[in-house]
């Protein structure tokens, strides 16, 4: 009985610790892609995948953050492919970019093939990776660096339609 109580106490303590670590980063799991699309269906959506361990991602993020702050005509949603247990480290990095208030997700499902397949069945896991989704439902994917001129061109087309 005493052991059971100790276990319970440890469990309650552990919940507090774990939740304090998670921060404001939502889990990205099976079906999350469709949920995000539905929530942002009325506006152009830039869904951007990145990782702490991906140098090109880290290089391009400040530019993407600045662009998103300067343009109010699309929604930016960020998904890190780092496991959600790494949220503390992810949040620290997001803070340096001023992206703490963005819609942030982290992988919470290790069946990564299925997560990728939902976004783009031809995506082999390259990072960074971006899905550009228009209100009409059309999806354009970009492997690697998201060039500002390409993003501008995509947004211009979206607005003229």
């Amino acid at each position: 009985m005493r052991n059971a109580f100790a276990l319970f106490a440890a469990y309650v303590l552990a919940i507090g610790m774990a939740c304090a670590e998670v921060g404001d980063i939502a889990p990205f799991t099976r079906g999350t892609f469709a949920q995000i699309r539905a929530e942002h269906a009325s506006r152009p959506l830039v869904l951007h995948f990145w990782s702490l361990t991906c140098p090109p991602c880290i290089t391009e993020m400040p530019r993407l953050a600045a662009f998103a702050r300067a343009h109010r005509d699309f929604d930016l949603v960020l998904v890190t492919t780092d496991p959600i247990e790494q949220s503390e480290r992810v949040a620290a990095r997001l803070k340096t970019w001023g992206l703490t208030d963005a819609a942030n997700f982290a992988y919470a499902d290790n069946f990564v093939e299925r997560l990728r397949f939902e976004v783009d069945r031809n995506w082999h896991g390259e990072l960074p990776f971006t899905a550009l989704i228009k209100p009409d439902g059309s999806v354009k994917t970009v492997e690697g660096e998201l060039k500002t001129e390409d993003l501008v061109a995509w947004l211009d087309k979206g607005l003229t339609q």
Binding site: I15, E39, C57, E60, E85, R121, H124
Partner: protein, 417 residues
Amino acid sequence: MIRPTCRFVRTTAIAASCLASSLALAHDPSMHGSHAMSGMSPHAGACTEPVPQCASSATPLFDKEGALRVIYAVGGRVYVARSGDDGRTFQPPVAISSAPANIDESNEGRPTLVMSQAGVMAAAWSIWRDKQWNAMVLFSRSLDGKTFSPPRPLAKSVSQRFPSLGFASDGTLWVTWLDKRNIASAKAAGDTYEGAALALSVSHDDGANFSPSVIVSDRTCECCRISLAFDPDGGPVASWRQIYGKNFRDHEVGRFGADAKSVNGIRVSEDNWAIDACPHHGPSLSIDAAGTRHIAWYTGGGVRKGLFYAHEAGQNAAFSAPQPFGDNERTAQHPQVLAHVGALVRAWKEFDGETTAILFQASYDNGDAWTPAKTIATTRDASDHPILIAKGERIFLSWLTKEEGYRLMPLPLTPER
């Protein structure tokens, strides 16, 4: 526009996630404080026992007695487990690293284990060592197959990842990895420096001492593992993803110089994959008894896209034309190639939206004609890369999956070999 989203979904899902993580944390007395949650393992919330099934990758080796050894990481520690029955059961593992660390447990950056002809085991892996995600390659060896030396770094450079190692037939231990030491000096000189570099170090005393590491090739891709094999005369040959021109990330195969300070390589094929990204998709190299080098790789190039195979008749020979394989509609990925006693096998992973399968083909004419693709194993949850490994005359698939655990499966090869 930056604005928060999915508030309701987020709150409830985080609660569920916290619950799962906390349960794992509370139930394992071997975990201490925040380190328990710091590993990169995507399985961390589900499973914390030091067994292969709780790892995200498991790399196999057959020892001198023919027993299987598997190296893997769980909860920030690296373990080696021995199996006397080809992976059906494992003896209690030996922990190589005592202090928990933030280990690179990605399928690409996996811990790796090799053995010399005399039975010395050598292991290498990398850890994330600071908040800037700089990494460090660690090395450990075992002279008796039971105890391992304390892990130690092989270089003092700013960041090292993706170690690959192997014993040559003369007993020399070759270690290569991706290293970022030249980036800072290039930037200081006003040059841009994409990617990382191929570093090399050798040991002539079974890993007791190593030569100072040197960079043998600058501007490699920074996030794809290196494949290391040996020519019949014992010369070490590596294959890796190199950056050509501005940003074509294609493959190179090259033999290291006997002085361990150079590499003599050629480009396998001009796939022209122009991408500023981390493909997380390294090549696979195997060299047969006649010295023909066989390579399998993935490219998303402008010239070709998918999995490809080619061979080179020997040093300085030209590579054969890239031969496509696998089903691009099923995201064919992570190819492996192995040449062994007259047979050549290639295996890879495919995913159809629900099920992940490992398929293989065999060739008995040096890679010109191949048997029809055949599925050897499947799973319906997370899985490691497939690995091919040989024992005696047989070739096995080594595959760790979340649902089924570790499996070692002999490939049903046709008898005309």
